[in-house]
Amino acid sequence: MGQPIGASSAIASPETSDYFHAKKGILSWLTTTDHKRIGILYLGSILFFFLFAVGLGVMIRLELFSPGEQFVDSQGYNRILTLHGITMIFLFIIPSVPAVFGNFFLPILIGANDVVFPRLNLASWYFYIFGGLLALGSVSLGGVDTGWTFYVPYSSDTADNVYLPVFAAFILGWSSILTGLNFIATVHRLRAPKMTWFKMPLFVWSLYATSWIQILATPVVGITLLLILLERVLGVGIFDPAKGGDPILYQHLFWIYSHPAVYIMVLPAMGVVSEIIPVFCRKTIFGYKFIALSSLAIAGLGSLVWAHHMFTSGMADTARVIFSLLTFLVAIPSGVKVFNWLATMYKGSIKLDTPFLFALAFIFLFSVGGFTGLIQGALSTDIHIHDTAFIVAHFHYTMFGGGGLMFLAALHYWFPKMFGRMYKKAVAKVAFLFFFVGFNCLYFPLFLAGMAGMPRRYADYPVEYTVYHRFSTVGSWIMVTGILLMLGNLVYAFFKGRRAEKNPWGGATLEWTVPSPPPTHQFATDPDVSRGPYDYSDEVKDE
């Protein structure tokens, strides 16, 4: 690990000096402390779990293609649903953008050579893999039927093996905490000289805010999950009404973490949008400070709205009104971001390249998700749509149309930098089209089905709802085609793509000043940060 680059080989091929080819063999990957290689480790494992969970999602849609039982009974359906949720939430969306692109690019974007605790960084990945294996292991023991929220009393009573997935979620939580800790310390300690707070790229700001949520919210769910385990093993009774406990308290503790967790999922995605839009508009970002501080505002406000998941659980009306009001307030910093992005595009020199298409789709899909969130944030309408397919549609628009989509966007934006090769842009655009059309076919009908009264988490339904479900299932086929085409295109480019230049998009942030792919030590000397991350004024003068 400590060997200087270039000493290993005399062959002057560009491949021998980059981080990816610097060392050979599986062991060199499993023991690496290079943040870029750890990012790649995460990328491989996260894509694996993503495709696994997509497969489970397709199974859910196939079961719902027609009324009645198709190929699994209700119990089996619950287990598929639970595993889909656990995998997508804990193994895909929460770690996706921070663990892959945060690891790879956060140090580069602030002009550092690594995160501040490289070994802890690798340990986080091992925690992640350990948690992932535990989650997969629960399948071999027959699966779990509690739903990813593990609500008591069901989770403390069900005959299914709850221990493994709950412990998996606990371990994954610590992986997430340690990554967050590492990022905060890195941003505080390793910024290049003259890289002041307000010269940092907005992606870094969003990761910084996300890391704080990870550190402050995750321990609460950690102890809550431990309490479930204790409940099952010892019968302590903290959540058991027969012993004086209160199951509603579990819901509070669970959502104190899990609502902020949705901002863990979406804030980094917003950071990626803020990176992509100025590059493809050749224009400085509008309202830099507002975007940066709105990330912190979302992180702060987002920690105070958890009970809006529980409007029908039983709570004082005063509490419900307060939580509803706070929920509406979160829309303000989110709106600040959207309007700033739109203002950035205004009179920009827009180039409709693949990453930019993703960013546009994010604004559309996330707005649909956000506005439908307000419908649930309002107490009266929430009573009507609570626990219906409407909710399913809403959180897929925000989580998948937000976090998941921007994971794919970041992959297309930074792929040439990470691997030094360019994918076929025309194929990527077609794949994106499939994804976008399929996505809306898949999830939009669920809004309508939910309004019409279709409950969520049911394997069966009356014939009246068939048309919504048919539409939705066909949409899932289109969307999955898009995803497979997208990833196939990238895999092909990884092996056979044409060599990418240093700065294929013309970006102004620091990662575009180092070679593609970057060498193991990207900055031999302090990088020049005088230009600023979104400064395109020189190009305007040239024109």
């Binding site: 300690r189 390793l190 290049a192 000289p193 919210a217 321990p219 609460v220 302590v236 009774g237 012993k243």
Partner: protein, 237 residues
């Protein structure tokens, strides 16, 4: 080393502690800029190590914080039963343990101060004293729990289930919270032992005290949690 500790430590304390000791050197704007840019190697940066440790302590505070919220909710709901349950706890033993832990925090702090002044032998003795206090704490705790077990008071016991709901919850929380705290004491002892070994090898020395300081921070947190646990459980009766 960080993985091996983290492996048998569910709270991940070891990973944060040991990795916080050695940090990479990037390009600090402030100080410690020694003109070389070895990125992926661990490098001694006490400021970053302290930041990392404090962030980790935040997570610990929130871990226990969630339990204190649970305690508050049930104290509000079952005030009188909680007082009843509290009156059955042994105040002299709890008070002795409080004194012991407070004193152990003192010896921990003294150890750091002594090492910084180059008095390694005495610093090691102070660590031994801290370990001894921690062991004494656990022994007393074990006697307390044992006495409760003898009276058939433990989670899920039939005798306990015959009591009022408030008392069931009170003793449930008592065992969960003091148990989790005791687990932290045990982990802390492991970390102190590890620090002792590092000190004996000279890896911790007057120029490099970060690991010992972080150990101290962790130990003070364990102490601090107990300072809240003691009155909440023992003194409300």
């Amino acid at each position: 080393m960080s993985e091996s500790i983290a492996g048998n430590d569910p709270a991940g304390n070891g990973a944060a502690l040991s990795a916080a000791g050695e940090v990479s050197h990037g390009m600090q704007g402030q100080k410690n800029h020694e003109g070389h840019h070895g990125g992926h190697e661990e490098h001694y940066d006490p400021v970053a190590g302290k930041i990392g440790m404090w962030l980790f302590l935040f997570t610990e505070v929130l871990l226990f914080g969630a339990l204190f919220i649970v305690f508050a909710v049930y104290l509000f709901e079952f005030t009188w039963q909680f007082r009843q349950g509290s009156s059955e706890l042994n105040i002299p033993m709890g008070a002795t343990n409080t004194l012991i832990l407070l004193t152990s925090s003192l010896t921990m702090a003294l150890s750091i101060a002594l090492l910084e002044r180059g008095r390694k032998a005495l610093a090691t003795k102070m660590l031994n004293a801290t370990l001894a206090f921690a062991g004494a704490f656990l022994v007393i705790k074990a006697f307390e729990w044992g006495a409760k077990f003898e009276h058939h008071i433990y989670p899920g016991s039939e005798h306990l289930l015959e009591k009022t709901k408030g008392e069931i919850v009170f003793f449930g929380l008592y065992f969960v919270m003091t148990g989790l705290h005791a687990l932290h004491v045990i982990i802390g002892m492991g970390v102190i032992l590890f620090a002792k070994r590092k000190m004996a090898r000279g890896e911790i020395n007057p120029e490099r005290v970060l690991f010992l300081e972080n150990t101290g921070l962790y130990w003070h947190l364990v102490d601090l949690v107990w300072i809240y646990l003691f009155p909440l459980f023992y003194l409300i009766g």
